[in-house]
Amino acid sequence: MNPFSEAFELLTSGDLYVWEVILRSLRISGLALFMAVIIGLPIGAAIGLSRFRYRRSVVALMNTGLALPPVVVGLAVFLMLSRSGPLGGLELLYSPTAVILAQAVIAGPYIAAVSLAAADSVPPHLRMEARALGATPLQATLLQLREVRTALVAAVAAGFGAIISEVGAVMIVGGNILGETRVMTSAIVLETRRGNFGIAVALGVVLMLVALYVNVLLLLIGRGSVRRPLSS
């Protein structure tokens, strides 16, 4: 049977293995994204909106988050979680939590760096304008960020795209254990090696669709068709 028609059949018949991997993938990366956003976005936004000494050095440091090699992140998280590492006692290595952590560490600095650039582009006098309208300091900050909401949503979406398609760190810290840490990317690697091309193609197609979906979302945001993702 040719791998494409097999992939089609696997996806349409609701094959348990394939769908289990897909859903786990989405769940792991979704949780990782959530962690990355609640930590990375406020940090990036705060640095982007404020002015302080040594800010340029901090910004340069943050920008390395954009170039962080995922496989190195995987290695670092592995060393942290390994039995002799500082967090070894938690026995998280090769667990879904380890994969979520690694992915969060990949996406977090990325989202922080892009959020920083977005917040940095907000003209500083907007804060005064917001205050003059009666805004409290917190309301003023939210109004400032609202002005770059499309860039912030793009940061989050791009962060998700980066981790859902990442394979190196996932394999290092997760170990590709069936029912535990096997996600779409690591499953594709394994099934291709095993010669199960149908499964690999099915997962590949879903991965492509997710990437396509993310990009269409970005495109719509860029065009302004998705108008108020972060507003009242």
């Binding site: 003209p123 006098h125 907007l126 005064m128 304008e129 205050r131 003059a132 309208l133 009666g134 805004a135 309301q139 109004l143 609202r146 002005e147 108020r228 507003s231 009242s232």
Partner: protein, 373 residues
């Protein structure tokens, strides 16, 4: 120097010994300034005089290096908190928050926690008032400069501010928008806001609109007073120059002809430009240097100037190389004229001299006098 606010006007905002420094530079240094209830105070001065800094300091949007601002007797944090919720500002290049016109106009109300239904009602009413009807759903990036300025004004006025801060609200507009808007701060802001602080470098605007005018030069207030006080008693030559600005006469539109207005000013009929309906009270603004004098006994001949009448010089003051004359025309109309020394000498001018006065129609601008009379 007349710094006191007018009789019967309760002080709403005041500043004492206010100083603002940016680094080593003192941008603003004020002994005292106050704004009365219902008053419009114009702050006039050249670029870089510290006008915008003054506005921001009075609006408590920048922290002064020294001194303090009081709002209704409150000071410090409580004054700032109260002022934030009870004042509004229109900046020179007002930011349009990325969304629709309606979003912008209602933003301050939503910030104050007003419910969606009430916000909409208020926004609709304000859009109607400022000629923004039908633009509510437009996104702000499609607005013209004049429309954006109106949105900024609507956004401020919808809050019914007790103090309205206007920073050069018409500075960056093209001429048609400017003319269309010139009336708004006066007519609408005066009705809708408790007190108005108007920053401008446009002397005509300051003199035409304000109850009092403060002149700021190099961060210091060189004079404050009513337009008449400033005109009659300029503290220095800069103010004398500035107050060569328009003065106003009060009259009533008698007829509208060929896009010009025939205005009756105490019996003198003057042809002016401007927009006002027949029978409405108007202020007619003119610049003292635009009046042309000729000896009274000289035949008028044929002139392009439409307005010619006789008057008597009642007062002469020399300011530098210029002479400032006060004239009384028919119906006791008081006029001010500025002439050069050589003209003064050549025409044998002096007190009690009768002269023929000529002024072009286009040098007279009629404004509706508004409801405050």
């Amino acid at each position: 120097m007349t710094a006191a606010i007018g009789a019967g006007e309760r002080e709403i905002l005041s500043a004492e010994a206010l100083r603002v420094e940016y680094g080593q530079q003192t941008v603003l240094d004020l002994k005292h300034l106050s704004l009365g209830e219902g008053e419009m105070l114009a702050v006039l001065g050249p670029n870089g005089a510290g006008k915008t800094t003054l506005l921001r300091a009075l609006a408590m949007l920048v922290k002064p290096t020294a001194g303090q601002v009081r709002f209704r007797g409150l000071k410090g944090k409580s004054a700032e908190k109260a002022l934030r919720r009870r004042s509004a500002a229109v900046f020179q290049n007002p930011h349009m928050w990325g969304d629709t016109v309606a979003y912008n106009v209602g933003l301050g109300l939503r910030i104050r926690g007003m419910g969606a239904h009430d916000v909409k009602e208020n926004v609709d009413r304000m859009c109607e008032l400022l000629g923004l009807r039908g633009l509510e759903k437009r996104t702000v990036d499609t607005l013209s400069g004049g429309q954006a300025q109106r949105v900024a004004l609507a956004r401020a006025l919808v809050l019914k501010p007790e103090v309205l801060f206007l920073d050069e609200p018409t500075a960056n507009l093209d001429l048609p928008s400017r003319l269309a808007l010139r009336e708004d701060p006066e007519r609408i802001a005066r009705q809708r806001a408790g007190a108005v602080l108007l920053i401008t470098h446009d002397r005509n605007e300051a003199f035409a609109l304000a109850d009092r005018v403060a002149v700021l030069v190099d961060g210091k207030m060189v004079q404050i007073g009513t337009p008449t006080e400033l005109y009659e008693n300029p503290a220095d030559s800069y103010i004398a120059q500035v107050t060569g600005a328009e003065l106003t006469l009060r009259g009533r539109v008698e007829r509208i002809e060929d896009d010009t207005l025939l205005v009756d000013i105490g019996g003198v009929k003057l042809r002016t430009v401007g927009q006002a309906g027949e029978g409405t009270p108007v202020k007619v603004a003119y610049r003292p240097e635009d009046l042309v004098l000729a000896p009274a006994d000289e035949p008028v001949g044929r002139l392009s100037t439409r307005n010619v009448f006789f008057a008597t010089v009642t007062e002469v003051r020399q300011i530098g190389g210029l002479f400032r004359l006060r004239l009384t025309g028919p119906g006791q109309v008081d006029l001010a004229v500025v002439v050069t020394r050589s003209a003064f000498e050549e025409l044998n001018l002096g007190e009690d001299v009768r002269v023929s006065v000529r002024i072009k129609t286009t040098a007279l601008h009629a404004f509706p006098a508004g409801g405050e009379e």
